[in-house]
């Protein structure tokens, strides 16, 4: 309970810091404040997709259904946060580039990522046998997990993109004002905490749902 109360206060402080304490970035003005929400949301999506991959590996090794529940929960949270990252990115694109969608390499790679994880859920609904579904979904989550770093970190950097340069430059140097960086890292930590909480709730709810299904059979 203390951890949850701390998370509540932490995120409220991040919101106040993002709007009142952090300075605006050059050239972007007030719009630059979206970085404190857009990047952490995208970060949670990546984290969740990679966690789904880890759970897939664990399931194929041990065949425990709790890993299937955790993988499904992680993929669902990842997809939801990926949609949120796309929407916040579209708001930024409209304000800076004049259109919500430009088929920029970053937007195209996120679009492919969304399709990959929508297909994961299509696969799950297509198979009735729970054990077969769990094993096939785990194999798919592992393959999809390998695609995540390429689509999020590599492809958008290979091609010319209108997307603002990453916070860590190609030379490995941090390119951000000190106050902005503190608020940004605090936001990353806060969103990670929200993800851990959501994952925990989803797994517990999933276990209860499976138990109810088994009892009704």
């Amino acid at each position: 309970m203390i951890q949850r109360a701390l998370l509540g206060i932490w995120m409220a402080a991040v919101i106040v810091g993002a709007f009142l304490i952090a300075p605006v970035a050059k050239n972007l003005g007030e719009l630059s404040r979206i970085v404190y929400f857009h990047v952490p949301v995208a970060w949670v999506a990546v984290l969740a997709f990679l966690w789904a991959m880890v759970q897939g590996i664990l399931l194929l090794r041990s065949n425990r259904m709790v890993n299937d529940i955790a993988a499904e929960a992680a993929a669902r949270i990842g997809l939801s946060f990926c949609i949120l990252a796309t929407l916040t990115g579209m708001v930024f694109a409209k304000a800076t580039w004049g259109a919500y969608w430009n088929w920029d390499p970053r937007e195209t790679s996120v679009f492919v990522l969304l399709l990959i994880y929508l297909a994961y859920f299509a696969l799950r609904t297509a198979i009735e046998d729970p054990e077969r579904r769990a094993r096939l979904a785990a194999a798919y989550a592992i393959l999809a997990g390998f695609a995540v770093p390429f689509l999020v970190f590599i492809i958008p950097r290979v091609y010319f993109s209108l997307h603002p340069t990453p916070i860590i430059s190609k030379t490995g140097k941090l390119e951000m004002d000190h106050t902005m960086l503190i608020v940004f890292l605090s936001s990353l930590a806060g969103f990670t905490g929200i993800y851990v909480w959501l994952q925990n709730l989803s797994v517990r709810a999933g276990i209860l749902a499976r138990r109810a299904e088994e009892e009704s059979e």
């Binding site: 909480w197 709810a205 209860l208």
Partner: protein, 35 residues
């Protein structure tokens, strides 16, 4: 009132709503787990 204060208040209200929702889900799941 400056627009940034309005955006700040909206964000805080949204977070308060999300936080309350997560807390209520947590307590409901806890109750079901006890049964």
């Amino acid at each position: 009132m400056k627009p940034i204060y309005i955006v700040l208040i909206v964000n805080l209200v949204v977070w308060a709503g999300v936080f309350a929702l997560l807390l209520s889900l947590d307590s409901r799941i806890k109750k079901l787990e006890k049964h």
